[in-house]
């Protein structure tokens, strides 16, 4: 008897097959219900065979990227919050991965190996195209939870899969649907993404997608933004969040005493929004795709740098920005 789970994030469906069902709370199941499909979907993008193992497996690997906890904190840098976490991995993980390491990406022959130790210990051995692989969750209890996948590795796998298959990007941003409009508020940490979400949440005609992570994909001339399960400081909207909407305006936000939005040139827009993207920086083709997508697709929408004041007046201001 095998258990099957289908996760859908950004219209990328991941099928997880395991010998046992996940052990988790109803609360978590409900929190992420919109990303767990109830029926077998018509298409599957990534197939993973899950096994729980007591200790890390040893592979003959060649490291291609290592995410360290002591990454520099520079302002104008590639955004790397996804790539390094504050919480240190446990001793066993640290011993296996190496001191100061959160996770790493390696080559094992032609396969890709992702390994982590901070938010759940895992090893994910994938085919080169990232479409099929073996997932090992390291746990002496022989149990697993859906969050081991969602918070363990799915975010890094998603950014890599999106870029490698030229499908879209993951942005450090809040996103919402306001009637027929779709607004994206991108920004660095503490720029005001969760604050913005709090202001707009529960407004008539407004539905929140996410307060911290948004996937952008292109369909013909339309840009769609998708909800993700990776929320920021504010998560009250999660149970009622809308799955996707068309993107019509994008804002690079920061706190200010008065509301002021200024349209940006492609060069300024590139420099601002690039900082808010999650990028597989170890892969040249992915880096090329993300920078081209940012400039040629993402910034083709009206783009503004937006200093905003934390009160409800900002809603009318955003709606009036032309």
């Amino acid at each position: 008897m095998t258990y099957e789970m289908f996760l859908n994030v950004g219209d990328i469906v991941t099928k997880v097959t395991s010998l046992s069902a996940p052990c988790e709370t109803e609360k978590n199941r409900f929190k992420y219900h919109q990303f767990i499909l109830k029926r077998v979907p018509p298409k599957i993008d990534i197939q993973l065979n899950l096994t729980v193992i007591p200790r890390y497996k040893k592979f003959k690997q060649k490291e291609i990227f290592a995410a360290r906890r002591d990454a520099p904190k520079k302002r104008h840098r590639f955004h790397n919050r996804i790539l390094s976490r504050n919480k240190p991995p446990d001793k066993e993980a640290e011993k296996y991965l190496g001191e100061g390491l959160d996770w790493r990406m390696s080559k094992v022959g032609k396969k890709v190996l992702m390994e982590g130790g901070t938010s759940g210990k895992y090893q994910l051995l994938l085919d080169e195209d990232l479409k099929k692989g073996a997932l090992f969750l390291v746990n002496s209890d022989n149990k697993w939870k859906t969050t081991d996948i969602i918070y363990g590795f799915l975010q890094v796998l998603t950014i890599f899969y999106l870029a490698k298959n030229k499908l879209g990007i993951l942005v450090h941003a809040a996103g919402l649907k306001d009637g027929k409009e779709g607004y994206l508020f991108a920004g660095l940490s503490r720029a005001g993404k969760s604050t913005t979400t709090r202001i707009w949440d529960n407004q008539p005609s407004v539905k929140i997608l996410n307060d911290d992570r948004i996937i952008i994909r292109k369909f013909g001339r339309q840009l769609d933004m998708y909800a993700t399960p990776w929320h920021g400081d504010y998560s009250d909207y999660l149970e009622s969040s809308v799955e996707k909407t068309e993107l019509t305006k994008l804002f690079y936000i920061y706190h200010k005493k008065t509301n002021k939005a200024q349209e940006v040139s492609p060069l300024e827009g590139f420099n601002l929004f690039f900082q808010t993207l999650f990028i597989p920086v170890w892969d040249k083709n992915c880096l090329k795709f993300v920078s081209n997508f940012l400039l040629d697709t993402f910034l083709s929408k009206p783009s503004y740098k937006f200093g905003f004041k934390n009160d409800k007046k900002v809603i009318d201001y955003v709606r009036s920005v032309k």
């Binding site: 990227f65 290592a66 995410a67 840098r77 590639f78 590139f270 040249k284």
Partner: protein, 93 residues
């Protein structure tokens, strides 16, 4: 500046031209190396284009002198600093 030196661009960078300025994005092997993205001004964008694995730094300097109204001493100083930056981020070797 070694005027006879020939520099070659690294294959571990991605560049993109926007509004006449070159943006350089390096690949990274660890998050510890994470650094800036580099936006070149007009002069350095032209200098970047001239680095082709064939021209010497002396050739690059001469071509820049013919394209921009700038004193030789000032240009050489700035080109020298630009090259040092490129070497330090392993964009050229």
């Amino acid at each position: 500046m070694n005027k006879k030196k020939i520099l070659k661009k690294s294959s571990n960078v991605v560049t993109r031209e926007i509004e006449g300025a070159v943006i350089l994005l390096p690949l990274y092997k660890t998050s510890k190396e994470f650094s800036y993205i580099y936006t070149f001004n007009k002069t350095s964008s032209v200098a970047w284009d001239l680095i082709d694995g064939k021209r010497t730094l002396g050739d690059v300097k001469e071509e820049l002198l013919s394209k921009f109204e700038v004193g030789e001493e000032k240009l050489e100083k700035e080109l020298d600093e630009f090259i040092k930056d490129l070497v330090s981020i392993k964009a050229v070797a």
